[in-house]
Amino acid sequence: MLKNPENSPRFVVTQLNAWFSAHHVLRSVDMLIRDREVTAIIGPSGCGKSTFIRCLNRMHELVPGAKVAGSIQLDGEDIYQSDVDPVLLRRHVGMVFQKPNPFPTMTIRENVLSGLRLTGRLDRSTANSVVESALRRAALWDEVKDTLDKPGGSLSGGQQQRLCIARTLAVDPSVILMDEPCSALDPVATARIEDLLHTLKASYSIVIVTHSMQQASRVSDRTGFFLSGELIEFGDTDRIFTAPTDRRTEDYITGKFG
């Protein structure tokens, strides 16, 4: 797979530090996340992967006592500047969570529209086309088009996760963050999500946290390896998996620890 070096940078992370109260969980992280690419974040449990991507949409600061220092630019604008509203930022930077979490009180259709409805931006005349296009992009349309008024919780785990992806796409973000989106799914459902990533990356910038080396090498263009809150190595996925420069990356990839 040939990489296109011209892909423009979206996120420019410089000297990012993050804390939970006194617990220093991210240390001086620098990273460049490009448009129309999948960036994989790997590393052992507790190394700060989730914390890192939650800094990208400012979800980290929702935890009482959480702090952030350093800078993250999105399309040239520092998202931690005081005049940036995190609520508006999150409409540009969508997030899919580890466990599928459709809203249980809502139908499939309502779940897809939930982002727009929650934020009071739902235009009734376009609702149907939004539902269809979001579900199509999430590769779920054919499976649910006749049961749109059933509760979101009635779907299988893999379908629920694609419903959550559709819900995220309906808000029309330009970046999608995914925190271990397949860890609760079986291999078939996982393969479907991975296929989906391949098509989505044509129009979005995607950051995915994963525990699976195979998944990272299958879906991503660049890979970052975290260890104890530090970004040990970052680069083209092919190179990271074939010729890592850091000893610790090699040990992790070859399964010597973690």
Binding site: V87, N101, P104, S114, T168
Partner: protein, 286 residues
């Protein structure tokens, strides 16, 4: 040896289960005995005339209409006052308030307030609403007093219901670009409705049976008119029962028993409504 031990522990288990059954059966039997006693005394008195008549000096022509209507007004007013206040307070404490020493203090205090005897609330209502606010012995004063009584329970039930809404759903809403208010209003509250409604209806229907606070604030015992507005003087079913029970004539005791039956039926209906609401929402949440 081993077999012996096993036999002994099985015997202990049987004994314990037996004790549990007895401690369940005793209150159930007492409750049934009481219900049957009341029903035997009162059932023959219940008819349309009894439900639609005003109190009278003659037991046979006396009815509970003012009490029934007064209680209905009271319960609606109490719900209208205490629900928005209680739910609002709970939302603030649970979703917006800072966690800390002050929050703990408030939490303990609310729990304690729920345990304060209802007479005390009556005295408070008498001082604040009847005298200070000049509401006199009105329905409004009664409903405000009962609202004080149920508020702690409504707040606690609502907080409990809010607390069990999973964090993952809150994060899902925020990640979609919802404000905290939008998240609470559109995601958390709908999921908490069954819990809130069950708690609220149970506590308000308990207030329906309260006599002491209404006696203290001076609800009337002999009323020959229906309340017209929230400022009317009023009576309520428990007051009417209290009044009849304290008469020496046996005929009035029968009336009291009949009124108790009516009150029980109303309470039962309120509880059924609570259960139906809860089940309906739970089905939706699935």
């Amino acid at each position: 040896m081993k077999r012996h031990v096993r036999k002994w522990s099985r015997r202990k288990e049987t004994l314990f289960i037996g004790l549990c059954i007895v401690s369940l059966a005793v209150p159930l039997c007492l409750l049934f005995a009481m219900l049957i006693d009341v029903a035997l005394d009162g059932i023959s008195r219940i008819d349309w005339q009894f439900l639609t008549s005003y109190p009278s000096r003659r037991a046979s022509s006396a009815g509970i209409l003012p009490g029934l209507v007064g209680s209905a007004f009271l319960i609606v007013l109490t719900a209208v006052i205490s629900l928005p206040m209680g739910v609002g307070a709970a939302i603030y404490l649970e979703e917006y308030g800072e966690r800390g020493r002050l929050a703990n203090l408030i939490e303990v205090n609310i729990a304690n307030l729920a345990g304060v005897p209802s007479v005390i609330y009556g005295l408070l209502g008498l001082e604040i609403f009847v005298r200070f606010a000049g509401l006199d012995r009105s329905l409004l004063a009664g409903a405000l007093t009962l609202s004080l009584l149920v508020l702690p329970v409504v707040i606690m039930a609502t907080r409990e219901a809010l607390r069990v809404v999973p964090k993952t759903l809150r994060e899902a809403a925020l990640a979609l670009g919802a404000t905290r208010w939008q998240m609470v209003w559109r995601v958390v509250l709908p999921m908490a409705v069954p819990g809130i409604m069950t708690g609220a209806i149970l506590s308000i229907s308990r207030a329906l049976g309260e006599t002491a606070p209404l006696v203290v604030i001076g609800a009337l015992t002999y009323v020959s008119f229906l309340p017209q507005d929230p400022m009317s003087a009023f009576t309520a079913l428990p007051i009417q029962i209290f009044n009849w029970v304290s008469r020496p004539q046996a005929a009035f005791l029968e009336n009291a028993a009949a009124a108790i039956l009516v009150l029980l039926v109303v309470l039962l209906l309120a509880n059924v409504v609570a259960i139906v609401i809860r089940n309906r929402y739970q089905k939706r949440i699935g």
